[in-house]
Assembly symmetry: C2
């Protein structure tokens, strides 16, 4: 396998890692040049600025995942339909013209996102598919339910090392909207990263009762109004309400549950899942690098 | 009964009406001096500026409903617990010192809001209770389910002319957050007041399927992404999603359903309710004046 430089190029950040042939990360760096911070004709320039230290290494493979492959990104990599495995992703890579300045034999490609459909409605992901394959790589599992919490959380069903289907929940975005822009914001205080466990659990349990989030969210207002919850506990309570709402419609998947992402968030999900009687294994963000490495290795098999 | 000047003093507006002894509106006016636009020590001044034309009529009764009775308003009128009828509201009025400039025998009072509790969580309303009693007055009903759509929609259960309990849904606020501040806002166009009926119905039906709003809301994004719905139809679709979500947890109430408010909104609710097999009668905003008049009349009986 050729040397791999893996790029996780999302909406708000660009992370780059250099991996050896065993998939170990030799070097890692991050910048704020997410696609929203890159003018349409500057993607190659930003790419070289962030990968230039390896530009003279011949035959390097640069593999990119995330929103860089969207219509607003560097080059559109059309969605690959589910079910999809490593090999399907590897076959559907969008190859880019080699930017000037790279050594001979260098290749640059973008991993496509995935799409699926339920009840006539399309669903999409970009970047999470790589994390899912990374999590499979890290655990050796062939079947799993993989949860990727975030602005738009994904619930992904994997069977036989293929992503069968998935579902998006706007959990993180709803939390941010309510926390920052709603009436509830006025009575909340404190650091979003500090978890009040009792308040969080209360929120999860209330959501699991089956009421609509439209109703349960208002309880954050009235509990404050009647001094039944402190302003500093309310953000944790709200976090529990929205995460519990996400879990409400997910029944026990009957397969291993992996939660992939930053520990502060995956630990909240594991806690909420435990309240539904589901146990989960948390996988950190190295899953991205392992997934890109696995796709590159798959490509090595194919070519 | 003494002459009545009724004030609907809400968060963003102040409406005033003069009613005769039969409850007919003789004069009506509105200003933008809602409580958010009134400095704490200026309520009496704003009151006189808006009611001064009747200041010389002796023995006038000024009855106020809405957020003017909240902690941030003119004077706090503590919440009255449910169940509550006309007589309970009349007994719990918060009487104000008569502002200078009013003729002899003038009286000024604020109608309290209501509170109730379900599963250990308090719920509150201020102003809607008066609309509910107005709707009973206008229909002659003793038992009803009264829906008051808005920023914070209320579902109110009335038995024997008493409000037994109620529930708040942040439907209008969620719609506004998603329409203005979310990722979905970017792909939406058009006037929020123009209803695309087919898109609205599709949204209602999707919500009634039982999925979480966290998931259904994302369909507004993907339908746009795959060009399956026009940018101008999307606001109606989103409106259907949130109203349908509000209705999802409401089972057939087994009593007359009244929807009270501005026709553009109540007609949407009647349309959505019909899709759940419920028929509704729409009542316009005159319900506020009829409710204040009924409370004042009740007071006449009491004193």
């Amino acid at each position: 396998m050729t040397p791999l430089v893996a790029l996780d190029w999302g909406t708000s950040s660009l992370r780059v890692a250099r991996l050896n042939e065993q998939g170990e990360v030799l070097h890692e760096q991050a910048s704020d040049r997410g696609i929203l911070n890159v003018p349409a004709d500057q993607f190659a320039t930003v790419f070289i600025a962030n990968c230039g230290r390896w530009a003279r290494a011949e035959g390097t493979f640069y593999l990119i995942s995330g929103m860089a492959g969207s219509r607003q990104g560097w080059q559109e990599a059309p969605y690959c339909p589910c079910p999809a495995g490593f090999d399907d992703l590897a076959r559907a890579l969008a190859w880019l013209p080699t930017p000037p300045g790279l050594a001979a034999g260098s290749r640059v490609a973008i991993v496509p996102g995935l799409c699926c459909e339920h009840d006539g409605v399309p669903d999409v992901m970009r970047g999470e598919e790589v994390q899912v394959f990374g999590a499979l790589q890290m655990t050796g599992l062939d079947d799993a339910t993989v949860v990727l919490p975030g602005t738009h959380s994904k619930w992904v069903t994997v069977r036989g090392r293929k992503i069968e289907h998935f579902r998006t929940f706007m959990t993180g975005e709803f939390y941010a909207l309510l926390r920052q822009h709603s009436l509830l914001a006025r009575t909340m205080a404190g650091d979003a990263n500090t978890l009040d466990e009792a308040a969080f659990d209360l929120g999860v349990d209330r959501a699991l009762n089956g009421d609509s989030l439209l109703a349960t969210a208002f309880s954050a207002r009235t509990l404050a109004l009647f001094d039944r919850m402190s302003a500093t506990a309310l953000p944790s309570y709200l976090s529990g309400l929205v995460i519990g709402e996400e879990l409400r419609t997910r029944s026990d998947p009957g397969a291993a549950v992996l939660v992939v992402g930053a520990p502060a968030l995956t630990q909240r999900y594991a806690r909420a899942l435990a309240r539904c009687g589901m146990s989960a294994r948390c996988i950190d963000s190295r899953a991205t690098w392992q997934g890109l490495w696995a796709v590159a290795r798959q490509l090595g098999d194919l070519t």
